[in-house]
């Protein structure tokens, strides 16, 4: 892993996110910025994006927390699935880049963003690979608030029942949701214990650190159990005035905020290069 290179990509993705939300004057910057390292690590380091003879990607990804679409689209553009210039059409009436992902977008397999539905889909893909004896893993990114949805826990039981060792539930644990902290809205505590008791081989990582994410993946090797990575992250990560601020969950970025945010990201880029 070339951490410096990944950090540079992450910096570019953050700039894309800020530009997209600024241009659209709406979107979800907080939860997009929190999962940048996870997405960059998956798409630029971890996943096998080659296609099999049915034009099916070998590894699959489901963005269950579909509101992080800006981060997802920017990463898909960084891998050449969509032209980078299209990113600025995000949320516009003539654009295919909808507020939440749809499979009209190249590289996207399933529509998502109505929360709680992605893990089941990921299980179905992983189950098919298993019964067909096909190679490939399925990675599902969930929000910590999102897992208040009951279907997610139904899905976790399914992962366990079928010993889906090829499915990864990655939980972006930034601790905040629209109405406040995840603890205050629904009391999501003891997540590690919950996941372990649901049959997942589980690790907790710093989800904004590439080396920590990599260490997490390296620790997961049980040939029978589904995998879970609890990724502790900072909502709004990388933009000081957005970090850990609930109001940046879903909000447009005005001109002034845009200038400030881009300035910070430019500075960070220079710092990373030197």
């Amino acid at each position: 892993m070339e951490e410096r290179k990944l950090k540079q990509i992450a910096n570019e993705i953050r700039k894309d996110i800020i530009q997209m939300v600024h241009m659209a004057n709406s979107g979800h910057p907080g939860g997009s910025l929190s999962c940048v390292e996870i997405l960059v690590y998956l798409y630029h380091e971890k996943m096998n994006l080659q296609e099999d003879n049915l034009k099916n990607r070998i590894d699959k990804f489901v963005l269950s927390k579909g509101h992080a679409s800006t981060a997802y689209y920017a990463v898909l553009a960084s891998k050449g699935y969509i032209p980078k210039k299209d990113l600025l059409s995000f949320r516009k009436i003539d654009s295919y880049l909808e507020g939440h992902p749809s499979n009209k977008i190249p590289g996207v397999d399933v529509s998502s963003g109505s929360l709680g539905q992605g893990m089941s889909v990921a299980n179905g893909m992983a189950l098919n690979k298993k019964i067909s004896q096909k190679e490939g893993n399925v990675y599902c990114l969930l929000g910590d608030g999102e897992i208040e949805e009951g279907q997610v826990w139904e899905a976790f039981m399914t992962s366990h029942k079928y010993n889906l060792s090829n499915v990864y539930a990655i939980i972006d644990y930034n601790g905040l949701q629209i109405d406040g902290t995840v603890e205050s809205v629904k009391k999501l505590d003891h997540l590690f214990e919950k996941m372990t008791s649901f049959g997942f081989e589980t690790v907790t990582v710093d989800g904004n650190s590439f080396s920590s994410i990599q260490d997490g993946f390296l620790q997961l090797k049980d040939p029978q159990k589904p995998k879970c990575i609890i990724a502790k992250t900072i909502k709004g990560n990388g933009i000081s005035f957005m970090e850990n601020q609930v109001k940046w969950h879903g909000k447009g970025i005005n001109d002034e905020e845009y200038m400030l945010a881009m300035e910070e990201l430019e500075k960070e880029a220079l710092y990373e290069i030197n």
Binding site: N56, S102, S111, S120, V138
Partner: protein
């Protein structure tokens, strides 16, 4: 006599023998939906997701997306169209996945289980979803033929099946296709539109009416979405009285769908027989059909009254 759910279970076994890419999902109702027949023969291709219909829909969609399987997912209409509605809309239909949702125990013919299990809204719910196709077969042959078609339709489908045994109507050389319908007779006194469980009731009414000197035709709307608009308009033009009968709410069912066609293309009065915006209740299915008016007698009565009114059109009768 055979229920359409039984025909579904048999189809899965027959087709599953020929095609190893057939996979079946259920949600702890395999013995009721009849997918247990498939499970018995091909346990490795049957997935019981437990009492978790929303998860079942998502998992089945995921398997379909991964590319090489023909996927069937089953539960009762109430728990599939009802409980998992949004999963069907957002995951399956918006992504336009090739998947077959086979919903058994539709309508009040569920019987003794009562109102909580009698889905009389599923046609309405599925009809408003873009990309969705809806079939509602009436007997064993039409069920099997429709399912055979479904496999190759690259879109989400909802197949509405029943619990109760229904008489055999079709022979195996009949063909069924998306957007099609079947017409019985060419009588011009009226048309009885029916679907699923009510087709055999409509056919009985047709015979009784013949004895009363009325020549009517019956149209089996086995494809509900898309609906056979051409046939509906043709029957409206050629016959005097139009009646629809369905084991579904009169709001949003085939009556509403036919009325929608008529009001835009050939305005004409339609009598809708169905569940009149009330919940069902427990009871033996045949008795429930009597209580809720899903009978040949009710059809015949509508016909004779309608004809009388046609002879004496008054303001009062128009309002009725």
């Amino acid at each position: 006599m055979k229920s359409t759910r039984k025909a579904y279970g048999e189809f899965l076994v027959e087709y599953g023998k020929k095609d190893i890419s057939i996979v079946v999902f259920d949600a702890d109702l395999a013995s009721a939906t009849q997918t247990a027949l498939f499970k018995e023969k091909f346990p490795e291709r049957h997935f019981d997701i437990g009492i978790a219909e929303q998860d079942m829909v998502g998992t089945a969609c995921g398997m379909a997306i991964d590319g090489d399987k023909k996927v069937f997912a089953s539960s009762f209409a109430m728990f599939l169209a009802g409980r998992a509605y949004e999963q069907i809309r957002n995951t399956a239909a918006y992504s336009n996945i090739n998947i077959n949702f086979c919903a058994t125990h539709s309508g009040i013919s569920v019987g003794e289980d009562g109102a909580t299990h009698q889905c009389i809204e599923d046609i309405a719910l599925m009809n408003v979803i873009p990309n969705m196709k809806i079939f509602s077969p009436a007997d064993e042959v039409s069920t099997k033929k429709v399912l055979e078609q479904c496999i190759f339709l690259n879109t989400p489908k909802y197949i509405r099946l029943g619990r109760k045994d229904t008489p055999d109507i079709y022979s195996f050389d009949e063909e069924f296709h998306l957007g099609g319908s079947k017409q019985f007779g060419k009588g011009t006194d009226g048309t009885i539109f029916a679907t699923g469980m009510t087709v055999s009731i409509a056919l009985e009414a047709k015979e009784e009416l013949k004895k009363l000197g009325k020549e009517v035709r019956v149209v089996d709307l086995y494809s509900i979405k898309p609906i056979d608009e051409e046939r509906i308009i043709q029957c409206a033009k050629e016959t005097k009285t139009l009646i629809s009968i369905e084991d579904h709410s009169v709001i949003g069912g085939i009556g509403s769908i036919i009325a929608n066609v008529l009001c835009q293309k050939f305005p004409k009065k339609l009598y809708k027989i169905g569940i009149k915006d009330v919940f069902g209740t427990s009871g033996e299915a045949t008795l429930l059909y009597q209580q809720f008016g899903l009978t040949k007698e009710h059809i015949i009565q509508k016909f004779t009254l309608k004809t009388k009114r046609n002879n004496f059109v008054t303001k009062e009768n128009m309002i009725k």
